[in-house]
């Protein structure tokens, strides 16, 4: 196949891939990328192969202008994401316009650049690992295209006929609307130049460049490119510690976790598959993964008040400065496990009074690896990441220690800690908080109150025992009440006059976790049990490849916590909770997330696990590569493994200090930020300098390498033959300006010295040279005595030479 045809196809593939990359990020409008892909392939057939139709240059310009105008209307009103999408669309329009032009070098260049721009935009729109895969495919296509394009350019340059054809395409008449099959102009009939030279392309051109060897070349190129990409990407120092804010990416979808619950919205809630975080449990000692037998409850925020007017549960909690402190150190004799949370960069963190809300199993403790910015509001029981405002630095990952409690009951209990000096008594602050959780509107929720009473009475429990009452109510929801779980709230069956929670409890008894939790919390309060709603995530998909829970928005969950005083706790655990404990109650009937565990072991799930793991890796080591991670994950291990064994001389720290000092001495302050802008610039500079050094050393080697190598070989030679003494002799003489010419034999050399040296010196030299000859050419081995004799003579010579210096010169 002709090179040009191959190029046309390859460009079309490239265009299609670029459009697909864009499509990957722009989920809401898949039609345009598909159109672009179609256009790419149609254009190959229609415009390039058959030449039925092609856009004239002017027409193409008009079309391009139209596309720009059309896109601008999209561009202005939107936010940054929409703007990007508008750009993406524009790029696709332009690409289509270009594809239907007759291709010249100019058009090919435009297509290549457009395609690259598409990838740049796509990189901003699509953060998934799928982008990575697409990028690799794109890279191969791009390399193929570039290679073919190069061949095409070279052939056009060399071959006059091709060049004429090519120029004819570029200079087509302005007002021909549709280009027909235009004949190749052969304007070169009359030659008036003095010397006319003409070369033709080789006949094997097409076969050579469409052969499998070319494919091998491209593959090699691809491999080199991949390696270079990885090396460069990880070696290039990042200027800042910040993560990419994700400002360009699409906003958070309106599903999943929210920091309040309102029940006035009806309709279907979509189960969002979007990743929230990945949580791994590891032993703090051995760092081996641990899988919890119980589904972990990742606590988010705590809702303490039900607003009847808006029918929503909200947080009306005034920050408690005393209670909100750093995480406590782990208590001694409790087994701990490290919880490692890696947040999806697109997860928008909720604001709390202390900063960004964090999700974690509660309670949490710290150790030396835990960030000191994590704040534990112990009264309400939630973690925050200290930040001054919503725009403050968002953590990408954090780790805390959590108690390892495989036992069911212990897992459900959360100790209430007293801040009083007497740890067995509740302090006033806690007491008032508990009081606030009991408050109910006595005159509201008549039917709810009635139901509650019925439930408690019908349950065969001690009504004075809060623990039993709470459990009875929980049972009511999960087993006895005939509740069903649904995400679809049909507005038609709702009673608009009733409060949604009451309606849920009394009438239709179907809803999602928020309804269950909301209703139960109210019921508990009417039983004068302090209760609150905890919103967070329950469980997640366990990824057996990376040993972590992939927590998605669909795992969002709400549950209830009830305060149980010490006296009501079961006897087995009573001593551990001197001031009572929070009991976690999950009223939602199970069955929503179990699906995940059923399919374990299947090929598909394994593959999905892998994919998700890759996604995590992609996110961790590509999308969120920052200076901190770079240092921790790449430079440090690298330095430890490679630099440390080299010893103190090549100490990383010392170098760092040295560079810092040097920089300070020239007035550049590198601060504590080792990977600052300066470092980035320095790296670029060093790369350029390194390249320069490489080039100059190459030149140097070419220029001086041969003599240098010869010199080295000579040195080795002398040593190998054991004739260093002669070398010594020559050196000593050379120091006095008596050098042996390369064409001189040692005898001749010594002979030539006769006029300049004293007879004593000559007598000393002669046996040395003779010995040298015997050893070097005769293969003799000198005895110890002979060697010492030579030593003596050399000293004699030295003395003579020294005298030569001292003696007056005439």
């Amino acid at each position: 196949m002709k090179v040009e045809r191959l190029l046309q196809i390859s460009v079309a593939v490239l265009a299609a891939l670029g459009a697909m990359l864009l499509g990957g990020g722009e989920t809401d409008d898949a039609a345009l990328p598909i159109a672009a892909v179609l256009a790419a392939f149609i254009s190959v057939y229609v415009t390039d192969i058959q030449r039925w139709f092609s856009l004239n240059r002017n027409l193409a310009n008009v079309a391009a202008l139209l596309a720009v105008a059309f896109s601008i209307s999209d561009f202005w009103p939107g936010n940054s994401t929409e703007k990007l999408q508008a750009i993406a669309k524009l790029l696709i329009y332009l690409q289509i316009v270009l594809l239907f032009q007759r291709k010249s070098t100019r058009v090919y260049w435009h297509l290549c650049v457009l395609s690259l721009l598409q990838v740049v935009v796509a990189a901003a729109l699509n953060l998934n690992v799928s982008f990575g895969f697409m990028l690799v495919a794109y890279m191969l296509a791009a390399l193929t295209t570039l290679s073919l394009f190069f061949i095409y350019r070279e052939t056009v340059r060399v071959d006059p006929i091709l060049k004429a054809e090519h120029d004819a395409i570029d200079n087509r008449p302005v007002f021909a609307l549709f280009g027909s099959r235009d004949e190749a102009g052969d304007g070169g009939g009359v030659m008036t130049e003095a010397v006319l030279l003409e070369s033709r392309l080789p006949k094997n051109l097409a076969t050579v460049f469409s052969s499998w060897q070319m494919f091998v070349q491209v593959c090699k190129l691809g491999i080199v490119t991949l390696i270079a990409t990885v090396v460069c990407f990880y070696a290039f120092p990042r200027p800042s510690r910040d993560q990419w804010g994700g400002g360009l990416a699409g906003g958070l979808r309106e599903t999943g976790f929210k920091d309040q619950i309102s029940f006035d919205r009806m309709g279907r809630i979509l189960q969002s598959d979007e990743m929230v975080m990945r949580v791994a449990f590891r032993s703090p000692v051995t760092d081996t993964p641990k899988e919890s037998p119980l589904e972990p409850y990742f606590r988010g925020t705590v809702l303490n008040r039900y607003q009847i007017q808006t029918s929503s549960w909200i947080t009306t909690y005034s920050p408690d400065d005393e209670g909100a402190t750093q995480l406590p150190a782990a208590p001694p004799n409790v087994e701990m496990v490290r919880q490692l949370v890696v947040l999806n960069p697109r997860t928008r963190l909720v604001q709390t009074a202390h900063g960004h809300l964090l999700f974690s199993v509660y309670p949490a403790y710290r150790d030396q690896l835990t960030s000191s910015e994590i704040i534990d509001d112990r009264l309400a029981g939630f973690l925050s990441f200290a930040a001054s405002d919503a725009l403050g630095a968002k953590p990408s990952q954090y780790n805390v220690l959590i108690p390892w409690r495989p036992a069911e009951l212990e897992n459900r209990l959360l100790a209430l800690e007293s801040r009083d000096e007497d740890k067995t008594k509740l302090d006033w602050r806690t007491k008032s908080y508990l009081d606030s959780l009991e408050k109910v509107e006595v005159f509201a929720f008549g039917e709810l109150q009635q139901t509650t009473r019925n439930v408690v009475e019908s349950a065969n429990v001690d009504q004075k025992n809060d623990f039993e009452v709470a459990q009875a109510i929980e049972r009511f929801f999960t087993d006895e009440g005939g509740f069903s779980y649904t995400l679809e709230i049909d507005p038609r069956v709702r009673d608009p006059n009733l409060d949604p929670l009451e309606d849920f409890l009394v009438n239709h008894r179907s809803g999602h976790c928020e309804y269950f939790a909301g209703a139960m919390a109210l019921m508990l309060r009417y039983q004068r049990i302090p209760s609150r709603i905890v919103v967070g995530y329950k469980g997640g998909e366990y990824n057996s490849v990376g040993n972590y829970y992939a927590v998605k928005q669909m795992h969002a969950h709400a549950w209830v916590e009830a305060y149980i005083p010490q006296k009501d706790l079961p006897e087995s655990v009573r001593e551990n909770y001197p001031t009572g404990a929070w009991l976690r109650l999950d009223p939602t009937p199970s069955g929503e997330t179990e699906v995940v565990y059923e399919e374990k072991g299947g090929m598909l799930s394994k593959a999905l696990d892998w994919f998700d793991y890759l996604e995590l890796m992609w996110r961790d080591y590509v999308v969120e590569m920052n200076s901190e991670r770079q240092e921790n994950a790449i430079y440090k291990p690298f330095a430890d493994r490679i630099w440390r064994p080299l010893g103190d001389w090549f100490n990383y720290e010392e170098w760092r200090l040295w560079v810092k000092e040097k920089a300070a001495s020239v007035g550049v302050d590198i601060e504590g930020e080792w990977f600052s802008w300066y470092m980035s610039l320095l790296t670029i500079f060093c790369t350029i300098a390194g390249f320069g050094i490489y080039q100059s050393s190459r030149w140097f080697i070419r220029r001086f390498g041969q003599p240098l190598w010869r010199w080295v070989r000579r040195q080795l030679h002398f040593n190998r033959h054991g004739v260093t003494f002669y070398l010594q002799l020559e050196r000593r003489l050379a120091r006095r300006g008596m050098r042996r010419a390369p064409g001189q034999t040692p005898y001749e050399f010594v002979d030539s010295l006769r006029a300049r040296l004293t007879p004593v010196a000559m007598d000393a030299i002669a046996p040395v040279v003779e010995a040298y000859y015997r050893v070097r050419f005769g293969g003799a081995v000198l005895s110890e005595e002979a060697l010492s004799g030579i030593e003596d003579r050399l000293t004699t010579l030295q003395v003579e030479l020294d005298q030569l210096d001292r003696s007056p010169r005439f």
């Binding site: 064409g743 040692p746 050419f777």
Partner: protein, 313 residues
């Protein structure tokens, strides 16, 4: 190498030097050629003792010696001999020519016709002669010392380069210095001193010596050095034709012989360097056509080339 052989060489050298005065260089090269088992070309004006060298060598050896005066009318059969019909036995009998000797002095070799020259040169290269299809071996050792006067042109047939190659060395005698010349006059007061020489070496001993020469060791680096020199003659711009492989072999052998004469068991770079000019100069062709000064010019070129080649250390 047995010490007596070395002493024999020394003795031989002394013997010749007693007659050929002030020409130790020539004598030594003569011996080198002998030990290498090759042939020598002496070039110079008449009367500086070219023939004397040959005679002295021949006398010092216990072998046959023959002297051929080459003239334009000399025929090949005059040298190698011919088949003569014996009327009594009715068969052809080969009458050996004068070339069947250990030492042959071919005087004025360039005066004879190329045909005769090539007959001699063939004998030199093969150590045998063929007459009427019958091959006759020449005695060993066999050495030709040819002389020619390079300054004569009229009526001469200069040896072509390909044939010059057969001689190991081409050396010129040069005039002896004043002291030596006085000595020569002294020694000639009572007639030719050559006649007083007595043989010091037997031809078998020569053979032994020649065998011993081949045992002389040569270090790899000297091999390289030698080849460097040969290569340099081929690379240089001044020479049209560089030294041949045969030249390399000759230089190799000559260096070995010199080491032998100097009583060493190994070759040193000095051996190669000293002999390079004598061995190589007549085997290369310079660029341009330099008539009379050609010889000197070539020797200068070769010695410059040799000086430029780095000596192994």
């Amino acid at each position: 190498m047995p010490a007596e052989l070395t002493s024999l060489v020394a003795e031989l050298e002394n013997s010749i030097s007693r007659v050929v005065l002030g020409k130790s260089e020539v004598v030594r090269k003569c011996l080198i050629t002998l030990l290498a088992g090759e042939h020598l070309l002496l070039e110079d004006v008449p009367g500086v003792g070219k023939t004397l060298v040959g005679k002295a060598l021949a006398r010092s050896l216990d072998g046959d010696f023959c002297r051929l005066q080459f003239t334009p009318d000399l025929l090949p059969s005059d040298i190698v001999g011919s088949n003569v019909f014996n009327t009594k036995t009715h068969e052809f009998v080969f009458h050996r020519g004068p070339i069947f000797a250990n030492i042959v002095i071919a005087d004025e070799i360039n005066r004879t016709s190329p045909r005769t020259q090539s007959a001699l040169l063939e004998a030199m290269s093969d150590n045998q002669v063929s007459v009427d299809g019958v091959t006759h071996d020449l005695p060993t050792p066999f050495m030709v010392i040819a002389t020619q006067n390079p300054f004569e042109f009229e009526g001469t047939y200069p040896l072509p380069e390909s044939q010059l190659d057969r001689f190991l060395m081409r050396i010129s005698m040069g005039y002896p210095d004043r002291a030596a010349e006085r000595q020569i006059l002294e020694s000639h007061r009572r007639g030719e001193p050559v006649t007083e020489l007595t043989p010091v070496l037997h031809s078998d001993q020569i053979k032994q010596l020649q065998a011993a020469v081949r045992e002389i060791e040569m270090n790899d680096s000297i091999h390289e050095y030698l080849l460097d020199i040969i290569e340099a003659t081929r690379d240089t711009d001044d020479l049209q034709v560089g030294a041949s492989t045969r030249a390399a072999i000759s230089l190799y052998r000559a260096a070995q012989s010199l080491a032998m004469i100097e009583g060493r068991e190994f070759v040193v770079p000095d051996d190669v360097k000293q002999l390079a000019v004598s061995v190589l100069a007549h085997r290369v062709i310079p660029k341009g056509y330099l008539h009379a000064g050609q010889r000197e010019a070539v020797e200068t070129i070769v010695s410059r080339i040799v000086d430029e080649v780095a000596v192994p250390t």
